[in-house]
Amino acid sequence: MPGFIARRLLAMVPLALIVSFAVFMLMALVPGDPALAIAGQEATPEAIEQVRVQYHLDQPLVVQYLYWLRDAVSLDLGTSRATSQPVLDEIVARWPVTAGLVAASALVAVVIGVPIGVLAGIRPGHLADNSSRLLAGIGLAVPNFVGAIVLVVILGVQLRWLPILGYAKFTESPADWALHMVLPAFTLGSTLAAIMIRQLRAAMIDTLDSNYVRAAWARGGSPKRVIGQHALKNAAMPALTVFGFSIAAMIGGTVIIEQIFSLPGLGPFILSAIVGRDVPVVQAVTLMFVLTQLVVALLVDLAYGWLNPKVRVS
């Protein structure tokens, strides 16, 4: 197991290199002069030239990338070209907000998706099943930013049940943090919940119809044992795969959700950086997102082993 984890962690390095290079080249392909964005409207041509030299913008693209890589290896992610502030400082300050939002959204997805999906699979064609399909349909059809605004208007503006914007640190007040996270997490997690409902429903129906489950019933197994221990563990495998992939989508979704709910996470930060051609910020934040997804993928693989000993890595 430690060897497996170590190999997977090592495998992240070349992937991170490929992604960072790809992002760098994509940003370079965007038309326009980054030196103009940095120097501003009131700069002189000499000042713009100075900016080009300072930020190596007069060098070939590969050389510019190597400059960035050299610094990144020593955890110097550069300074923002717009603010001249260290990028790492901003990421350290903002990352917990985004990570918390993703974690809360994943929790919402699991808390909603798993019980409903299982119930629907146990009772196909009944009220629980029909309700679940309606819910899943709505969750999949409605874009998350539309859902966000509707929830804010109803629950925040009209009913005043929940705060409509803002953030509280988890370390200072878990209860306040949770209260501020309800709307954003529900918005971001609803799509994944909908997917998990459908996945689990289908997988449960299929699994409950298998021979080993029939055998378990025949041996007089209790519903808790048969469903919880035998059926669910096998039905959860495809749902777990979807869950792992969806984390990446959720991370991307934080950009919009954090804007709507005024959460001080990485979303607004990278959005401003993309518009302002602030390449160091875009590079660093994208790398952070990619590494996060890779770690999640590793955790999903480890979870497979827990669910099904046959795929456990020895």
Partner: protein, 521 residues
Amino acid sequence: MQVFGGRSPSMRRLMALFAGLLVMAACGSPGARGGGGEKDSNGSLRIATDIEGGLYTYFDPVRYSSWPLMFTNLLYDTLLYYGPDGLEPGLATEWSFPDQSTVEFTLRQGVKFQDGSPLNAEAVKFSWDRVIAAGPEMTKVAAVKALESIEVVDDLTVRVRLSKPIAGDWRDRLLFSSQAGVGIVSPTAVRAAEAAGKKFDEAPVGAGPYKFVQFVPGQRVVLERWEGYWNPAAQQVARMEFVHTVPGAPTLTALAGGVADIASVTAADLNGLQAQGLVVDQYPPVFETTWYQFCVARAPFDNLAVRQAALHAIDRNAYTQAAYQGAATINDKFPAPKFPYYPDSIDNPYPFDPGQARQLLQRAGATGAAVTLLTGSDPLSAAVAQIMQQQLNAVGFTTQIRQSQNTFNDLPGVNWSIYFGAGSYPATSSAFFMPGGVGNACGYDNPELTTAFDRTRNPQATAADLDQAWADYQRVVYADAAQFSIANPNDLVGRSEKVQGVSGDITSGNPWVFADIYVTD
């Protein structure tokens, strides 16, 4: 396999539950907005604004780069104020420009910083020496970069020398703003912070009407009335809370949800605000202007007659309602409508006349000429672009729209014919219409316009001189037809009814605007 038996479900129960939720929502109160009561001098004003300027929040003026923040002017006050008739005394009571590279002013007597230390010439020198020491990277504002030396003439008199003859920029911009990094800080507080190994940013001290209380990153900034301020009549509220929101729906919901009392809003928010029973005030802009620039370096607008044809094709009335939802002031001149030296005596020689436009185009042999509009991707710019496209195509042009997230960045790289610009004087003119300006991507160079512009920036010009200079500037603009204006979006302020006394745009946090704002109980 069905594990548990059961009856077939009914969808009606589900739909009834959903409908019940909607009914509850519809019946829910939009929340108390108050208004119409007595002035509450101990009240709080909550302002929805982007406290990060899109990037980060700062309080120390030397951390300024190019992001003005609303609370800066309230924290540090400004040397001068900008009233209906121009400059008025603020922290400074007298000001002069001995030459084009020198600014002199005399500070108001008896003014103290929020820590009780005196605001004097030494404090100004200390503050601006820090700006110089921070280096040219500290700011993108040319007039701040030009700071060369600060001389203490006497206890209250300061002489500032600039490295370039742009004292006019100080008159037109910096002297009535602390947002560009020239806020005057308390030397006592800076030294105390340094001695304690802390940053001044953590506990900033200025001489403004409101002192720093709290900053929660990404959430809010809280200021409180400072009892030692030199002008108590300008402190109508006891506390100001700046709540972080981004423009658009989040600001709208903050106002509607009672999280904020007032905010700068856009025309796109109008319907939503009015539906929520909020008040929207409109003010024609004073400095912010929108304009359109022809690229005179390439076809089709390298031909004066073709440019004139395009101008005759523009029907300004079509834009105001369709694009700006009525929240705009039609403007056929370069400066903003409320600019003190607005040249309203100069008539527009290009009235809307599609027939004339077609004739000019035909005579120039340019019927069907391809035109590319380089515009922003925001809804307002997109709407304006679509209307312009229709109007130009109606007289014989073939117009396509090129949207961009950052049009300024795309100037050198895109083959544009008409560029949509916005900005405030004088930065806009310098950057886009003067030779060597970084926004002058098509190399526009008109010596007459340059001469007229230089006259507008002469700090020693009288009001009559400036009136004449701006009139001459506009005449040249019309004659050359290289740039034009259509309408200026009004500055919009959305507020709950409990907020009264709003007299202008609040975006800049100008103390003379906030001096009259109060809340009712």
